[in-house]
Symmetry: C2
Amino acid sequence: MKDIFFTPGPSELFFTVEDHIKNGFKNNIYSISHRSSEFKIIYEECINRLKSFLRIPQGYHIAFLSSTNEIWERIIQNLIEEESGHCINGAFSKKFYDFAILNKINATAYNYKNQEYKINEIANSHELLAITLNETSTGIMCDGDTIRKIRSKIDSLIALDCVSGIPSLPFNINDVDTFYFSVQKCFGLPSGLGVWVYNDKCLDKHNKLKEKKNTGTYHSLHKLHEMSQKFQTPETPNVLSIYLLSKVLNDMMKIGIENIIRDTNYKSSLLYNTINKHESFSPYINDKNIQSKTVIISNCKKESDYYIDILKNKRLIIGKGYGKVKNQIRIANFPTHSKEVFELLCDEITHIK
Amino acid sequence: MKDIFFTPGPSELFFTVEDHIKNGFKNNIYSISHRSSEFKIIYEECINRLKSFLRIPQGYHIAFLSSTNEIWERIIQNLIEEESGHCINGAFSKKFYDFAILNKINATAYNYKNQEYKINEIANSHELLAITLNETSTGIMCDGDTIRKIRSKIDSLIALDCVSGIPSLPFNINDVDTFYFSVQKCFGLPSGLGVWVYNDKCLDKHNKLKEKKNTGTYHSLHKLHEMSQKFQTPETPNVLSIYLLSKVLNDMMKIGIENIIRDTNYKSSLLYNTINKHESFSPYINDKNIQSKTVIISNCKKESDYYIDILKNKRLIIGKGYGKVKNQIRIANFPTHSKEVFELLCDEITHIK
């Protein structure tokens, strides 16, 4: 048996990735020009599959960047003039806020440590409100109902961080104006590609803004959008990653997004049950409404290395707590993790003394 | 026989890349955390090999970004306060200048269309002077002597674009303060990684600047430098590409940089001789001092598609002229192209009617 990675990203590769990479060599995908018709076909196919698989409505568009860190910076440059609001429930939502501050944006932080967003506290005056579908650092999820409630209360642009949530955690895309993710989480790909989805309202805002401030160069939103309409990127992109994403989307479409969501729910229930029953473990997040289904975090009696090493000996690789936290483990529940390997993992956790 | 790509990037992969990618799967490289000790070892090894192979002197440092377009933007944000000088001899050096203008930099263009840099024209008052080792769009090379002469005349920071030049075209690194390249040219890797080398003088300049202006967020130079000292990146990087670069550097070190340079000279002489003798072709750049050895451009009597298709039928894939140019072909001469395949290519070109 080989190692199975349950780390929260980079993680276990989607099980078809190795074959797709090999086929890419046969078909010269990594040598073709990014200005060639062959590349444009790969690009268009990837965009069409994203739109179809994620059911992206009309009026929403897609651009490829290199990471979510980059997308945070581009959102700040391209969609915010003076101020923004940030619902913060972990290190990554905090980092987006920090980026805004570094960019001299008058950003407001709404801090929700281990609790639901308090929608009534959020001002309706922000240019853009940043929320998070799944906080990878703390394992806090925001469900579709909450996002809908925010949409009904808030008139500003809404940006949803979907890094470790999409496509496993459902939400209504019409409830947000922009969302984004990177491919090394639920899509099970090598890291190095960020996907940015934005709607016409974002484009309108950007087109007004670009007359007033510096919105960047090759990756300013209008440049990304202009090139994207031609199935191209402004720079030489990570062709390998766009190619692999398209192939994995095709595989996931065959499985079906409903089945992926259903299996995510089953596997997360199994793991939370296992943790709840075990005397050495307890869920870090107690409120079941916000317990993440894709990044499950447990407190543990001993230091995390003890448990990580026991499972590593069984070739099951789990993650440690985020940052300097010592008594936590983090376990990813992504589409590539089958029910069978999750049952195996839960069995092994149950037997830990 | 499979297709052989002589396109000027993305191009033919270095001949060891497929095996290295496969080994990466065996060793779980694409699943490991970018904060793990395993990744830090890969990072450190790659940095050490770059320093050793390219003979990077003390006081120079290395950071990984996603493309040369990004490095242009970061240089402008991080090393230029008000103004810069740009020696322009093609579309890419022009693009760097355009990026500076978009960033409200008072940039000066020195235009040298198909001719050597006129060093005496260049002002010695720039904060940073941008020059190009090899212009991929026009096939114009700048040799080490010229760079040395510029260094001896100019006190400002000197930035050298090495995209399609390094490691095949030699220059003295001490003659520049920063240089950069992307890996899909001479290193024969899939696209999606830029390498930025900068010296202590750049760091000093940046550290003063960062108090005065917005130098970016996750990829500001001090953040990149701080993380690089810990063999890490600020964001989840393109781990696959850093891993492959390290492996290919190791292969190139076994061949030796002198042998790579010598073979580059041999192959380029062969191709220029072939072009000069053929009645349908003539070199686009006539001045031998600036004729590129790595991206050879030829004018041709008929439209380029005619010649491209003939060679494609022989499974030899060459490039068309840059942008909208119709009567030009571009041929890459990179380290992965053996003398044997170059002899084959020249034979086939000779026989074109």
